[in-house]
């Protein structure tokens, strides 16, 4: 299948810069150009269409959907809606407080906090476009399962005792949900604003991700990867998770890294574990959440997620 993005990459790296196809620099540049073009084109199209359909759900609406439901229903909705809510870590404090104030169990809130940064429609479409639908389904399925059980496990430890006192005292005003302008022009305007807003927020991560992916693609020798990160390398999975925990990137930004790693033969489970731990856990996110919960709860949160990602990685390496 002719791929216009690969063609563009070939053109710039090999024809324009005159680099050899076999050189590390050449293949890194080809990868970089191809992925920048492909990912940004896909991003603009997907976000615009989502905006047009108003498919992105705000946290305020999630709170209204979830509140007052029995536990399993609330969790199902939190996980499902978390997957379709674009998430900005700067909103996690008000979101946490809003959920607590609505009487939503903390375990459900944690399920939402796990699902939201890891899975979203934009990342899902990109995953299908770049890594194929099988890997997309694996990633999404594993993410939903981790979010579901991660929240349940958190609940077992009674995290209520670690919530900062002031959180319980906040009274939330009547919800300000604005009525959207549903005319075609209104939708178009909203969609354009959404594209600008989301791109402004994530472009850095995407560039960094593509850069890392390109370096990996060009400079890391395949034999080394097979020897150290291939199937059967059990320690590679916890290693990947440990590396990913402090690192942060948007879920979109990890996709090109995964693309390059899979291309070199890194085991699927190892790649999935790394992707999840980069997208879901990070030091900045923890520091933000520290405003509402004490460090014991944060350590537990990191521990539960870390262990889940390792299990996900191992099981996929076994099945694959």
């Amino acid at each position: 299948m002719p791929d216009p993005f690969a063609w563009l990459g070939d053109l710039i790296a090999y024809s324009l810069f005159g680099l050899s196809q076999d050189s590390a620099m050449g293949s890194a540049l080809q990868f970089f150009v191809m992925d920048v073009a492909k990912i940004f084109a896909l991003l603009v199209i997907i976000i615009y269409l989502m905006g047009l359909l108003r498919a992105l759900v705000s946290p305020e609406r999630v709170r209204e959907f979830v509140r007052g439901r029995p536990d399993w229903q609330a969790r199902g909705m939190a996980v499902g809606l978390g997957a379709v809510t674009p998430f900005c870590s700067c909103s996690s404090v008000p979101l946490f407080i809003g959920f607590v104030e609505a009487g939503i169990p903390l375990g459900v809130t944690f399920s939402f906090l796990i699902a939201s940064p890891m899975i979203n429609e934009v990342a899902a479409v990109l995953l299908i476009g770049i890594l194929g639908w099988k890997l997309a389904l694996l990633y999404i399925g594993a993410g939903l399962i981790v979010a579901w059980f991660g929240g349940i496990i958190m609940q077992r430890f009674k995290p209520e005792r670690w919530v900062e006192d002031y959180v319980w005292k906040i009274q939330m005003g009547a919800l300000a949900i604005q009525r959207p302008d549903t005319s075609l022009l209104g939708r178009h305007r909203f969609a354009v604003a959404e594209v600008k807003e989301i791109l402004r927020r994530i472009w850095k991560w995407v560039f960094i991700g593509i850069g890392v992916g390109a370096l990996f693609h060009g400079f890391v020798p395949e034999q080394w990867v097979v020897d150290n990160l291939g199937d059967g390398q059990w320690l590679a999975v916890p290693g990947a998770v440990l590396i990913g925990i402090p690192l942060y990137s948007n879920a979109t930004g990890v996709i090109p890294v995964a693309e390059a790693m899979l291309g070199k033969g890194v085991a699927v489970g190892t790649v999935l574990a790394l992707m999840m731990s980069i997208a879901a856990l990070s030091v900045p996110e923890m520091l933000i959440l520290r405003k509402v919960i004490r460090w014991q709860a944060l350590a537990l949160f990191a521990g539960v997620l870390g262990v889940s990602f390792v299990l996900v990685g191992w099981s996929f390496n076994l099945i694959a």
């Binding site: 305020e60 700067c90 979101l95 809003g98 906040i170 604003a193």
Partner: protein, 84 residues
Amino acid sequence: MKQIKVLGSGCRNCEVTAKVISQAAAEAGVEIELDKVTDIGEIMGYGVMSTPGVVIDGVVVHSGGVPGPDLAREWVRGSTDGAS
């Protein structure tokens, strides 16, 4: 004079939002009183969960992102309704 408040606990997007609004006001030649609300209790009191949010004369007109310049222009000019 319009009282405009930007709700947000100091993230970058909140700074950008405040700048967009003050710029729109300067361009339109309208004097406004612009406050940044960073206290989380007060922000939640307005019923806003996704920051940055914008409050004009006590009414929440926007939440969950940096508003576009045309939206900000509408706000400083006057029509508080119709802002989506």
